[in-house]
């Protein structure tokens, strides 16, 4: 026992010195006294105020970090992506990395939003123009739509009601994305079936219509989820 305690003495001394040096360093860098302000502290502040808080060297490190993080996230949410990137680089040494990821995700989401609107608009525009051009065949097209009505209704009810019910069983989940997606899919599918009834039967035309339908469905799903709650898209990297 005595031998062991004697052998540990140099180790204790070393650790005491290390801790003393760390304490002095933390004291002078003011990290020791830093305390993260609550989110309400930053609420309602303008971007200029946040930038001033983040830039002031007299503020403690956590206050500056919180202000820089809030600034970058606010700029990104407002669609000022270049300003958000610039602020992220300006305060890169003291910022929550989540803010940078959030800014990138919001920028990506805005690009996907434009692509989704474009895909949906182009596909529906071509479909409607085809239906107008072939208005003499609309009676037959309506018969075709009626023919697939039971299958489509079953699928969409299953998606909207069963999917929505399963989603709503979880703690904070919402059934709204499932219900709205199913509701908007109904006219979309009817338009595409009518388009296929009056459109060209050639393989290239059918393939093009199928691709347009897939793109429109994905675009619709994205827009529905984005409209309800964009945080739902975080799981998809958006």
């Amino acid at each position: 026992m005595d031998v062991g305690s004697v052998a540990c003495e140099p180790s204790y001394a070393l650790w005491l010195r290390v801790m003393l040096v760390l304490a002095v360093a933390l004291f002078f860098t003011r990290i020791a006294h830093a305390q993260a302000p609550p989110p309400s502290f930053f609420a309602g502040r303008t971007n200029d105020e946040l930038r001033a808080l983040a830039s002031d060297a007299h503020n403690d490190v956590l206050l500056r970090r919180g202000a820089a993080t809030k600034l970058v996230m606010t700029l990104a949410d407002d669609g000022e992506f270049d300003a958000a990137d610039a602020a992220g680089q300006e305060f890169a040494k003291n910022i929550d990395s989540g803010a940078i990821k959030h800014a990138k995700a919001v920028r990506r989401r805005s690009h996907v939003h434009v692509a989704a609107m474009g895909a949906l608009g182009v596909a529906l525009g071509i479909a409607v123009l085809s239906l107008v051009a072939a208005h003499r065949l609309l009676a037959g097209a309506l018969r075709s739509v009626r023919g697939i009505a039971p299958v489509v209704t079953f699928f969409l009810l299953y998606t909207g009601l069963v999917g929505g019910y399963l989603a709503s069983r979880y703690e904070n989940s919402s059934s709204l994305p499932f219900v709205l997606f199913a509701a908007f899919m109904l006219p979309l599918v009817a338009i595409f079936r009518a388009w296929s009834a009056v459109g060209s039967p050639r393989l290239a035309a059918r393939t093009g219509r199928a691709l347009a339908a897939v793109a429109s469905t994905l675009a619709l799903a994205f827009l529905v989820v984005e409209h309800i709650n964009p945080t739902f898209l975080e799981g998809f990297g958006l």
Binding site: V189, A197, A213, A221, N229, T231, G235
Partner: protein, 85 residues
Amino acid sequence: MSEEDPVEQEVRPESVRAIRLGHGANCSSIGSVVDTLFASAVIGGAVLAAVLAAMRKEPITVVGRPEVSQPDLIERDANTREGPQ
């Protein structure tokens, strides 16, 4: 054992680094389940829409017996070509 709530003992405010909002908050597995469920619904809808958009035209179906048979039509056509003499 203390009489205090064990949860309050374990989680102190200063120990909380972040709180996530939204579906499946603070539990990634629940979020993943709902995301997967929605993704499967979207994929199913996309397949359904693609199949319907790629369908051929409705085939023309003649219902009932034609009033004029094929030989009669040929004969009538021949008479028409000869014209009134």
